[in-house]
């Protein structure tokens, strides 16, 4: 510091001038008032922490029922003694959508469409633990053609998500068909009141809440606890949090989820189905080639049909089906629906 000349101490008065004293009082007073104000404000804010109340955002994505179209559309290639051929899943899904009246019946221009395949596991398409990527890509393409503003493909995976999205082939196939791929970012969940019997407040992945139309694209698989995992079980993949607890009341949980998620359309992948060691599989011997796609607007009938067709399980064996029917989500008597069966060759 440069040397400053020492002030003449004799000329310095002992006390501050009036003006300086006033300023000092003002400063101290201001700080004191601010501290007091802040103290009272914070004091009044102290409330016991309670979990923030969940939002109620249940949306009905269904379209009005129409009697001119079948309730259930099935398309299949002969599968006995045949091997999988590229292009078949695409033809199958084109056929079922055509049978149901075309994608324009379900998707309007400017819609935000969320497609929910099963992308839960680190498995290849041949292992049949995730939805067939060709099917997903074709549905994306049709949604784009129907004028959708955004087509989002997403799932909350069980195994590490990037790995599942990559290995399932869905990321590449859907993206090249024009879809947006959204990975399950752990920070992109909102606490939602599902309004179920068992399921009350659960974190739901945000893209599922912001959709205009939702297309459920499950794959039919064996499951150790329920026997099968079909369309309604696919809604596990909208949840975050500790969802492994749902197994404790799996049938009621499935119905609660199905009561919350009311999809525009369900397209079930039965091109390959997993007969054993589900829902993960891993061995190609667990897989059966069925070359079939089933679609419809009644999620209950769809699950009932596929359970009967491939596992010979009646609704009595799957309590959730009856519970869902009682809740008014659909009918277990799929035979009573108009079924459009297309045998391709």
């Amino acid at each position: 510091m440069p040397d400053t000349p020492k002030p003449d101490t004799a000329a310095e008065p002992d006390s501050l001038s009036r003006r300086e004293a006033m300023l000092q009082i003002l400063r101290v007073g201001g700080v004191a008032a601010a501290a007091t104000g802040a103290g009272f404000w914070l004091n009044s804010r102290s409330t016991r922490p309670v979990p923030s109340s969940a939002e109620q955002v249940r949306k009905d994505h269904r379209i009005p029922s129409a009697s001119d179209w079948p309730g259930l559309a099935i398309a299949q290639f002969p599968a006995e003694n045949h091997s999988a051929e590229q292009g078949e899943p695409r033809t199958l899904v084109q056929k079922v959508i055509e049978s149901l009246g075309g994608m324009s019946r379900f998707v309007r221009a400017q819609d935000v469409v969320v497609i929910k395949p099963n992308i839960a596991w680190d498995r290849t398409p041949e292992q049949a633990a995730n939805t067939n990527p060709e099917l997903v890509a074709e549905v994306v393409r049709q949604c784009r053609d129907a004028g959708a503003k955004r087509v989002i493909v997403t799932d909350v995976s069980c195994n590490e998500a990037r790995r599942c999205f990559h290995r399932s082939g869905i990321e590449a196939a859907a993206r090249s068909a024009g879809a947006e791929i959204i990975l399950p970012d752990p920070d992109m969940f909102r606490d939602i009141d599902l309004g179920g019997v068992m399921l009350k407040t659960w974190p739901v992945f945000i893209p599922f809440l912001e959709a205009d139309k939702i297309i459920n694209m499950p794959i039919a698989k064996h499951h150790g606890l329920c026997g099968v995992t079909l369309g309604m079980k696919n809604w596990y993949g909208i949840l975050g949090g500790q969802r492994s607890r749902l197994h404790q009341q799996i049938h009621q949980s499935l119905v609660d989820l199905a009561g919350f998620m009311l999809p525009t359309l369900t397209i079930m992948d039965c091109y390959r189905i997993l007969l054993r060691n589900g829902p993960t599989g891993g061995d190609l011997e667990d897989v059966a080639l069925k070359k079939t796609v089933v679609a419809g607007t009644d999620p209950v009938a769809l699950d009932a049909y596929v359970a009967k067709a491939y596992w010979n399980l009646d609704p009595e064996h799957l309590p959730y089906l009856q519970l869902a029917a009682n809740r008014g989500l659909g009918t277990v008597q799929f035979e009573q629906l108009a079924v459009k069966m297309s045998q391709l060759s």
Partner: protein, 546 residues
């Protein structure tokens, strides 16, 4: 080009290699390609700095009598050092560059005279040779503890396992409120920034590591010390620096001092990195010089110059003295027997010490693992954690699988692909039992351990409640977890049929998916212990595997 310009070239080189190092470290993560094969492998030479590292090569060669995958390339550094001296420390080493940067920060406590004094040769600079000697001897006896002090090991462990996850956490804390903002512009900005960062540096999922704070504080402590003492780490501890100093004994390049023109102005000492006495009147210390060339540039009389084949007085080899040499040798000789006479390796091995897939048998593992943390950094499930006591004191900071934080994905081999020394030997997904595509041929998969049930906590066993999430997740086929229907009585006295899970030890691979998925998150009712791990013939349950 005048030699006084060389420090500028050196700075460019230092920055280049520092950025390269961080780029490779950030790339040490799972990035599935957007097209082509569904196989997921490590892309890019992320092990590069380790395989160029002569300390890793020599010590692991002493310990295992072989050079693992790519380590032969350390000759690229070793041979030129024989001819040119420790150019690596001054021009390439990213740890050295960070020290250099920290030391260049202006400080009140270190200017002028203090700085000149601190850059004079100190007797404690020989400590690193003692460390090196002890490490070499210990590795010859089969323990790779010296790897802990390797500069790249230190850097990757500190930055990759402690600092980057912290940066990730901080960045998310800033971006998240933006992303959830109600103002459209802010929300859009936050979303794009987050997406862009996630594609490059941030992880989709926040990684957590045990002891991350300890590792970070040690690293910050070293940088802090080097703000006070120029290149504190390089001068006093770094065993790689010591090795390169020792082998530059016969190098043909050296510092020429024109004694007649030197007026002892001390300017050469102001920026000397190595503490190698560039000033006139005293012999130059070859093994300490980092070839930073600062002295050449700062000499006002141009009395200093690097020349080939000079014939001048110099102190070529480390000035260690008999006593310190003996200390180093004795420490190395004593370390291994002392560490291994402990329990832990042969007896009472920790039951939760699950090594990554491909790991070699434990004794061999300890003679290879340099605790660099590459495997922990790359693991996409955040499963691998640095040990504290699980592997004994000798195994401090070696990797262990902690299924509660993440299980081992049966198709994943990334840790085995980044391991520089073969402690985790490079394996293929097939060796882990992964059969993709049309392959049907099956062999015994690598096993990390075996799962067991805690029937006092398991929902269907103890709490009369349905569950079997573990069975759902079990990734092997046929599943290693099978269920048996059993009748239980609930508290109201009603009979209930439940599925109770069991483990088939001949199928279980010890991946820990069941433990990870168990709803009892604080202490899972199914847990994996190391018995049955395929790498250890002495740690088996079954007499014969089916």
């Amino acid at each position: 080009m005048a030699q006084s310009r060389l420090p500028h070239v050196r700075r460019v080189s230092q920055i280049f290699f520092l950025l390269l190092f961080f780029a490779l470290l950030i790339l040490t993560t799972m990035r599935p390609g957007s097209s082509g094969s569904s196989e997921i492998h490590m892309r890019g030479p992320v092990r590069m700095f380790f395989i160029l590292d002569p300390l890793v090569a020599i010590t692991s060669a002493l310990a295992t009598h072989a050079l693992y995958r790519g380590l032969i390339r350390s000759l690229i550094i070793l041979v030129p050092t024989l001819f040119l001296g420790r150019f690596f420390c001054g021009w390439i080493c990213p740890m050295g560059t960070l020290q250099h940067l920290a030391g260049s920060l202006k400080s009140e406590a270190k200017r002028g005279k203090q700085r000149v004094e601190s850059n004079r040769y100190k007797r404690w600079q020989t400590v690193k040779y003692v460390v090196l000697l002890a490490g070499l001897v210990a590795s010859a006896f089969g323990s790779m503890v010296i790897g802990t002090l390797d500069p790249f090991s230190l850097l990757v462990r500190s930055v990759g396992v402690a600092l980057l996850p912290a940066v990730n956490f901080g960045a998310r804390a800033v971006l998240l409120p933006l992303e959830h903002s109600h103002v459209h512009v802010i929300k859009t900005f936050g979303t794009y920034a987050n997406t862009a960062l996630q594609r490059t540096v941030l992880d989709l999922r926040q990684a957590h590591f045990n002891q991350a704070l300890v590792l970070a504080l040690l690293f910050i402590g070293i940088l802090w010390a080097s703000m006070r003492i120029t290149r504190f780490w390089c001068r006093s501890i770094c065993p790689l620096g010591a090795l390169l100093g020792a082998v530059s004994r016969w190098s043909i390049l050296g510092l020429h001092k024109d004694g007649s023109s030197c007026d002892k102005c001390n300017r050469c000492l102001l920026d000397c990195q190595g503490g190698d006495e560039p000033i006139g009147g005293v012999p130059w210390r070859k093994s300490e010089c980092l070839m930073c060339m600062n002295c050449v540039g700062s000499c006002p009389h141009e009395s200093l110059e690097f020349r080939f084949f000079r014939n001048e007085p110099e102190i070529a080899s480390p000035d260690l003295g008999r006593r310190r040499t003996v200390t180093g040798l004795a420490a190395g000789v004593a370390a291994v027997p002392l560490l291994r006479a402990n329990t832990g390796l042969a007896k009472s091995r920790h039951e939760r010490l699950l090594r990554p897939p491909g790991s070699v048998e434990e004794t061999d593992f300890l003679s290879r693992c340099i605790r660099c943390g590459e495997c922990m950094k790359v693991c996409p499930n955040n499963s691998l954690q640095p040990t504290l006591t699980e592997a004994g004191l000798e195994g401090l900071w070696t990797p262990t699988l902690v299924p509660k934080t993440g299980y081992c994905e049966p198709s994943c081999v990334l840790c085995s692909e980044v391991c520089p020394t073969g402690a985790i030997w490079q394996i293929t997904p097939k060796e882990k039992g992964w059969v993709a595509g049309g392959e049907t041929q099956k062999s015994q998969p690598i096993r990390l351990g075996t799962a067991f049930y805690d029937r006092g906590r398991c929902l269907p066993w103890a709490l009369a409640t349905e569950c079997i999430v573990c069975e759902e997740w079990c990734p092997v086929s046929p599943k290693a977890i099978y269920v048996e229907e059993a009748q239980v009585i609930d508290s109201s006295g009603a009979a209930k049929i439940l599925k109770q899970p069991r483990v088939d030890p001949s199928r279980c691979v010890g991946c820990g998916a069941c433990e990870y998925a168990c709803p009892l998150q604080d202490r899972p009712a199914v847990y994996v212990t190391s018995i049955g791990e395929s790498r250890s013939p002495s740690s088996q349950i079954l007499l014969k595997r089916s």
